[in-house]
Symmetry: C2
């Protein structure tokens, strides 16, 4: 046996790992609720570590709980190839989001084991902690620490809505490693991530795979409105400082921005409004909102972001509340390594799949990795683009192209 151009992964074996994952942390019918650093997250991590060890990988866990399964290369001193994604899910999540990518990395090394092929550079399969941000916000935290965008101390101090501390939960489930989370430029040769599209395009066009050329430029903001409590009844309209209304007006305006740009595939989303006290009988003193805009055109995305910021100030003024834009993020654009994207595209042609170029619209750990290391993504179709929902659905046929392309581009890179 050797690694030849017609080498293929074992689709049944790959699918069986996804099926096993689908047993852990079940949510609504067909879906998962495997929130980060919960008991079911631990159970999945234990399963993943067992698989890695059975495949002969050297497993390490860093201070952020990120799990690395390393398959040594013939030249162990060379920077490794990383293949990763995440095993945590949303509260009403699916069975494939993130999971398909981590287990694709596992399947790549299992296939190499079958073929007796040792790559020149090491290959490391990675499970990033808390990609979803469904329990501890923001999302993509461990990959953010890895590239130096956040510090581990900052991440450890995060508090969930249920009052738990990130660092404590990491220790509780036994996945707070000693190894620092982070790497200097040059420490990683390349990062590959396979992911379901989480959008309807590939499925609608009956494409088998997407070559990700970049990410929709996206801008997000967290906004805090400060008002004052008062009685809901007698307080005249012009004496009110109801932060809940400031938040409602802001999110309404954000949604309007999304519709204004929808014809060119723009999107604007209000995803969170947490007011206090948020009770009948009393006007709310504070409201915290999260909103974002996305558009394929970078200039238009910036215009949308400016409109969103202005909407926050207008909403606050209208409701008599002060406005603080607490945090913001900017994602996407032409961030992926052109050489790696070209190699993926060439591999799609060589293997003869029905493929297309596509831009990512969701956030991914690859966005963080691309800040410091050559990175690229492969998208697989998913039914109707449904995701962050228990009805998220893929078949083995949806995944076969992406994971076989991943096999060849990763090995080619590792043997370089």
């Amino acid at each position: 046996m050797s690694f030849t151009p017609d080498a293929r992964i074992d689709l049944d074996r790959y699918w069986s790992t996804i099926q096993r994952s689908a047993e852990i942390g079940q949510g609504r019918e067909g879906g998962l609720a495997r929130l980060t650093l919960t008991d079911s997250d631990r159970e999945m991590r234990d399963q993943f570590v067992a698989w890695c060890e059975a495949a002969g990988l050297a497993v390490r866990v860093d201070e952020m709980g990120t799990i690395y399964g390393r398959r040594e290369g013939t030249e162990p001193g060379l920077p490794p190839i990383l293949i990763g994604s995440h095993l945590d899910t949303q509260i009403n999540g699916g069975r494939f989001d993130g999971i398909a990518g981590v287990l694709a990395g596992l399947e790549v090394v299992r296939t190499l084991n079958d073929l007796g092929h040792v790559t020149k550079r090491p290959i490391v399969v990675v499970d990033w902690t808390n990609e979803e941000g469904a329990r501890f916000s923001p999302p993509m935290i461990a990959s953010g620490v890895f590239v130096g965008r956040y510090t581990a101390d900052w991440a450890h101090a995060l508090i969930s809505d249920d009052g738990a501390r990130f660092g404590d939960e990491l220790e509780r489930i036994g996945y707070k490693g000693e190894m620092p989370c982070g790497a200097a430029p040059g420490d990683v040769d390349a990062y590959f991530e396979l992911h379901i599209e989480q959008g309807p395009i590939l499925d609608a066009e009956k494409r088998q795979v997407g070559v990700v050329t970049g990410g929709y430029p996206s801008y997000g903001i967290r906004v805090r409105f400060d008002g004052e409590t008062a009685h809901t009844g007698p307080t005249p309209m012009d004496l009110r400082h109801n932060a809940l209304i400031a938040g409602a007006r802001f999110l309404t305006a954000v949604d309007d921005i999304g519709w204004d740009f929808a014809v060119m595939d723009g999107k604007a989303t209000g995803s969170r409004l947490a007011a206090w006290p948020n009770k009948p009988g009393i006007l709310s003193e504070t409201a915290q909102c999260v909103a974002d805009v996305r558009h394929p055109d970078p200039i238009t995305a910036k215009v949308m972001a400016e409109k969103m910021r202005r909407a926050a100030h207008e909403a606050g003024a209208r409701a008599g509340c002060s406005v603080t834009i607490e945090d913001e993020w900017a994602w996407g654009g032409d961030i992926f390594d052109h050489g790696m994207v070209d190699a993926i595209r060439a591999e799609a042609v060589r293997q003869g799949w029905n493929w297309r170029d596509i831009e990512a619209q969701a956030g991914h750990d690859a966005y963080h990795m691309a800040m410091r290391f050559p990175s690229a993504m492969i998208f697989t179709p998913c039914k109707g683009g449904i995701t962050h929902n228990n009805n998220e659905s893929c078949t083995p046929g949806d995944l076969v192209a992406g994971v076989n392309m991943l096999l060849h581009v990763a090995v080619a890179r590792a043997d370089r």
Copy 2:
């Protein structure tokens, strides 16, 4: 000593009870956070019971935790006069809202004790459980059970946002009595409630007291929007069912209705929006909203209520969510006993205060009592109308007129 037309309450003693209450369950500076059925509520109840017993009142507690302190009349078989309000507060509440009314009742019986006057009918001082609805929604629960609007079983099963059960908390603090909560028509001769205005009118006009002629007609609704979770990123605008946005659009429209009618003193309030999952990265599946409208003119109030209901359906349609108007309430109007209102007005004239007729704009236990028994209210000024806020403020001078009027109208009624 005897009860003469110039009898007056002991203002210093009355004020001292308010000051003592202000020590229990302190919140932000100057304010109280004495939520119903908490430990601080128990402490205040214990203090109130001790005062009642020291004043020779027979104390009973009903199955809703309502405390009755009865001063027997010369004809114990006659229906009693009730004087009441509530000792619980909002999470950012003041020292006077409700409290001034309960302790005014206590001061009335203490004054009668001083004067050695026994009224013909009994006088009962009442502390109603959970007027505020700040921990268990809706507000005014015990008075609602008393008049048969709610059942005690229904109330006991209510769950707070912190997951506590009303009935369990009532037992925990030791205030779940054996006596049924309720009374048939005729069981209560009359109900008086003194309350701070919770609005700016008396203070702005430098009035010493308000004769409450009725309540602003008010309509409230709870609305539930049902959508579907999906990813915030790739999901096209026209495929979204974001319940959070339905809620935001609804509350924005409600606020607009308030402004449209503000010139004639109309108000419309969005007070609650609780969405799920309400997290960055995922569109929300459900949102629950509470909103209400109030207007001095009954027809206009109905028009506003219809606009509010229509706004709920429009917001749901715009956001692709189904709409359920879960519950609604209607308050206010010409609900108080005309004879009692006339007696209060005549007493204001007789005592020579600077008074005016005024309509209540907040909800009060008296609204429930008026459904079954002759009822009336007296309003005292409060600084700037600030309430449901730790800066709520009254002076002894703000209270003196109201409590002395209460003394005379209650005794006149009890001696009738």
